[in-house]
């Protein structure tokens, strides 16, 4: 009897997480600009965040701001949402009902924004003018430039496994902070070029993947302490997109300009081109869908978003034709 009860609890958990009923799906956002329709204009036809509804249609979400590059939702309080935009950081404290810019004129071109999982009040942002840190869930921000010889930063990652440990993709490679972005030091083995994207595995937090400008993909198996190039075929590519499966630490993908989508099913030992089926080889965002095991999403430059349930062997139309994607963000349902 006792064994059966334990088994039932286990099955319920496996099927629906901790919630009593079936788990709500993650909310799936795309940060983008509609540049395909941008003719004789310096501004895109539309921009901001789009949210995918249950029918698979994309709806604009939040304020219409230019240069929205990403979004972060507080790990404990889903009402607190941060938008990375060209105008600065824009924050909601009421689940998206109202928004407030929480940075001053000094801050522009925010390229990436994250909350820290272990200490959720902490948030970090990578901007073209240098990184920022917040200790009050993004309500206020401070410059976080100590130790950086060059300030341009495009990617930031807060280590899920260790509080205060932050990695920053800069013009000068990857920098690591162990004190919540109060100081930085260069990771010697990281590529000496602009690091465009960073990802951490949901299945194995020690596993990190980086995309770089002109130096291809780089992999770390020790939480970002050391890095080594992976995938020789794309070693000279500008890789804007990297993704690690949350279900399988061996599954990963990289994408970039002219590089299409390349996948590995063996932890980066071998890579395969999976561009066939996509309209172009220019890929800016990749993400594994945490809600659908094995599903990989890809955003091409202006030619649409696609998903694959067989690690890129075939692709399905995912909408957003004409978009220049900057990020995909999956937000787990509130618990």
């Amino acid at each position: 009897m006792k064994t059966r009860c334990i088994l039932l609890v286990f099955l319920a958990l496996a099927a629906g997480g901790w919630a009593a009923g079936p788990a709500a799906p993650d909310r799936f956002f795309a940060a983008l600009a509609m540049t395909k329709a941008q003719k004789n204009s310096s501004t895109p036809a539309d921009s901001g965040l789009y949210l995918r509804d249950a029918q698979g249609a994309w709806q604009h979400y939040g304020p219409r701001i230019l240069g929205v590059a990403g979004l972060a939702v507080h790990p404990k309080d889903p009402n607190v949402i941060l938008i990375a935009s060209a105008d600065g950081v824009v924050r909601s404290a009421d689940g998206g009902r109202t928004w407030r810019k929480t940075t001053g004129w000094e801050v522009a071109d925010v390229r990436s924004i994250v909350f820290e999982l272990a200490t959720p009040g902490r948030a970090y942002a990578a901007t073209a003018w240098g990184p920022l840190r917040s200790t009050d869930s993004g309500a206020t921000w401070q410059l976080a430039q100590a130790g950086l010889p060059k300030l341009y930063s495009q990617a930031v990652l807060a280590d899920r496994a260790k509080s205060g440990r932050v990695l920053l993709g800069t013009e000068d490679g990857i920098y690591l902070s162990k004190d919540a972005a109060q100081s930085w030091s260069r990771v010697a083995s990281s590529p000496a070029t602009t690091v465009l994207r960073l990802a951490q595995s949901g299945a194995d937090p020690r596993l990190l993947l980086a995309g770089s400008q002109g130096r291809g993909a780089w992999l770390s198996h020790d939480s970002g302490r050391t890095w080594a190039p992976t995938d020789a075929a794309s070693a000279a590519a500008n890789l804007y997109a990297v993704a690690l499966s949350p279900h399988d630490p061996a599954a990963m993908a990289v994408g970039g300009w002219g590089a299409g989508v390349r996948v590995s099913a063996d932890g980066g030992r071998t890579w395969t081109d999976r561009t066939a089926g996509l309209p172009v080889k220019n890929v800016f965002v990749l993400a594994f869908d945490p809600g659908v095991k094995g599903r990989l999403w890809a955003s091409t430059f202006e030619e649409g978003t696609f998903y694959s349930d067989d690690l890129g062997r075939t692709w399905q139309d995912g909408g957003l034709y004409g978009a220049y994607g900057f990020d995909f963000i999956f937000v787990p349902p509130a618990r």
Binding site: P63, D109, Y152
Partner: protein, 641 residues
């Protein structure tokens, strides 16, 4: 029987004609430069602009007129109902012009404050709540964004965060805006503007400063904006000729680079100083509405071309986000590179230059010659060279975009940016050196440069163009003789040889191409190591064109393009100029002293780097602009009667 609106338009036209005639006469005969006469002429032009604005609002037809016309009606208390009807139509759709919506809207709010009705105010306030205008990414964008935000917030003093698009209260928005604007003034008056001396974008600085000078309630900010207006306009007049902005420019569009009379600054030159022809536009309207009148010393300087002089100025590049380079320096946490400007201003022409290199991401004009002309708006009184260059390096240096898309996205609005026949643009492979009326340009292009050639623009206004057996090409531009000695052979091509602009690419930047873009040609040379010498001289100094040619042929010139391009040239003034690609140029053997290059220096003004002070001079007259001390530092010592 003429309708009242038509009668008014005729009256406006006659008034403008009179004002235009006054300015024409001003160019032909000495005009009184007494304060009262300068003021009287300016007020006549201002009145003509405002009267024309009123005529653009047509009672019973709310489809006509723009924000500035509405503002004029409301400020002057004329045709209020028609103006409000027009405003309701303009304000009906959601705006989409970002900061370029903000300042016309703010103008209506401050200039038309007394005339707006409750419904208009309600809609205006609603728009500020629901529409999130982008701040943009250039110095001019930020300047007009924060000025407009400041004045809009000033108009709703008690508004809380919920009443603003960005969730910040009026007080917070005003504080942020003011902080930026004062920072901008401090940087501009210490290190020079990043978007410097643009015949196009000067209006985006005059506009916000006029708004603040006219309507900021804070006396200190209002005064500072007024000083800044005087500063920006001095920067213009000291390098101008009959209202044309001469020399090197941070940004100029393809139309205006070949037709200097069509620049917004020429429109301002008419309103503010009486040069050229009336060209109504929003900036001219706004200046007229604001009540700003330039200090008379500026017109005295603008018209004083009896003696040639050299103007040296220090500017800076736009902030470099990436690839800042070893020549960059930091201001706070941002990096930039000094821009050394040298401009020779003559009674009949202006020859000016910067050192070359990537000083701006787009539309840079590294050097140019303009000359006095009577051809008006159709004139193409300019001569210049460029090395067509576009690259993601340049784009990502100045913009936050991605390497592989930045060039494409720039060209979505600036179509010529990525075209081999582009005329404005900077190049990392160009080095320019000028002393007096002579200029040496050197080029060292890498093997795989996207556009492996240099282009020299020969305007349709040039006459007597002669390819001399000596290798010199001689020409005459109105009252100036030009000698151009290319180091490598080239070929003549029509400008716009790709047909890009002729066929309408770029939307508004191509508009009217048939009028301004045809009949010119370019001398295009494909040698990777290349260069040329330019020597100009006023026609009045030579008995004939042939005498000029003889004099130039006799000038010692040695050049080499075997290794790093190099030239040694003895100019008409006897000075020996030497330039070698990658090295500091010399004059009579002495290296040019870039380390002590002043912020401004000429007989008409001086400012030291970092000083936040500019002393403007004319005769015994002095006008000190002091931005370090907020108030009461403006002093004028008039000439003794």
């Amino acid at each position: 029987m003429l309708k009242p609106a038509k009668r008014r338009n005729i009256l406006v036209f006659i008034t403008a004609l009179i004002a235009g005639a006054m300015s024409l006469r001003a160019a032909e005969a000495p005009v009184s430069l007494a304060d009262a006469d300068i003021a009287r002429r300016f007020q006549a032009r201002r009145a003509a602009v405002l009267e024309k604005s009123l005529g653009n609002i047509v009672p019973g037809d709310p489809a006509k007129g723009g924000f500035f016309d509405v503002a004029a009606c409301l400020q002057l208390g004329r045709q209020r109902e028609a103006a409000l009807a027009r405003l309701a139509v303009i304000n009906e759709p959601m705006p989409k012009e970002n900061m370029f919506w903000m300042y016309p809207m703010a103008t209506v709010m401050v200039a038309g404050r007394e005339g707006l009705d409750a419904a208009s105010w309600a809609r205006i306030q609603e728009l500020w709540r629901i529409y999130w205008p982008s701040r943009g990414d250039t110095e001019n964008h930020w300047c007009i964004y924060y000025t407009s935000l400041y004045l809009a917030a000033q108009s709703f003093p008690g508004a809380g965060p919920e009443q603003w698009f960005n969730g910040r209260s009026s007080a917070e928005n005003m504080a942020e805006a003011r902080s930026y604007l004062e920072h901008w003034m401090q940087i501009a008056t210490s290190y020079g503007q990043g978007e410097y001396d643009s015949p196009n974008y000067i209006e985006e600085y005059v506009t916000p400063m006029c708004l603040l000078a006219g309507w900021a309630q804070d006396a200190s900010l209002r005064h500072k904006a007024r000083l800044m207006l005087d500063y920006v306009l001095y920067d213009y007049v000291v390098e101008s000729l009959d209202g044309y902005y001469g020399g090197a420019h941070s940004r100029v569009y393809p139309r205006q680079v070949v037709a200097p009379a069509l620049t917004p600054v020429s429109a301002l030159g008419w309103l503010l100083f009486g040069f050229g022809e009336p060209q109504p536009n929003g900036t001219v309207q706004l200046v007229a509405l604001s009540g700003y009148a330039p200090p008379p010393i500026l017109e005295r300087i603008a018209r004083d071309r009896d003696r040639p002089y050299v103007e040296r100025e220090l500017k800076r590049t736009r902030w470099r986000l990436r690839h800042a380079g070893p020549d960059s320096f930091a201001i706070g946490d941002k990096r930039t590179v000094p821009v050394y400007k040298y401009t020779y201003v003559d009674h009949d022409f202006v020859l000016g230059s910067s050192q070359g290199g990537l000083l701006q991401p787009i539309q840079q004009q590294t050097w140019s010659l303009i000359w006095r002309t009577d051809k008006g708006l159709k004139s193409a009184n300019t001569f210049f060279g460029t090395q067509p260059y576009s690259s993601p390096l340049e784009g990502t240096m100045f913009f936050g975009g991605d390497w592989d898309t930045v060039t494409d996205l720039i060209a979505r609005s600036k179509a010529d940016y990525d075209s081999e026949d582009k005329l404005p643009g900077g190049s990392p492979y160009e080095q320019v050196f000028q002393h007096g009326t002579a200029l040496i340009a050197l080029y060292d292009l890498p093997e795989h440069n996207r556009f492996p050639h240099i282009t020299t623009f020969f305007s349709r206004d040039l006459t007597r163009t002669t390819e001399d057996a000596s290798g010199w090409i001689f020409a005459q531009g109105g009252p100036v003789y030009i000698a151009y000695r290319p180091f490598a052979a080239g070929e003549w091509k029509p400008n716009d040889w790709t047909g890009l602009l002729r066929n309408g690419a770029g939307g508004f930047i191509s508009t009217g191409f048939a009028e301004w873009g045809t009949g010119h040609r370019c001398y295009v040379s494909g040698a990777r190591r290349n260069g040329y010498v330019v020597q100009v001289a006023p026609v009045r100094e030579f008995a004939s064109f042939e005498k000029f040619q003889q004099a130039v042929r006799a000038l010692p010139l040695r050049f080499s393009t075997q290794a790093a391009p190099e030239a040694t040239f003895t100019a008409l003034d006897g000075r020996v100029l030497h330039a070698r690609y990658g090295a500091k140029p010399t004059v009579d053997g002495a290296p040019v002293d870039f380390a002590h290059w002043p912020l401004f220096d000429s007989p008409f003004g001086h400012a030291e780097r970092g000083s936040q002070k500019l002393v403007i001079s004319h005769g015994a007259e002095r006008y000190l602009l002091d931005f370090e001390h907020n108030l009461g530092q403006q002093t004028v010592v008039p000439t003794a009667p």
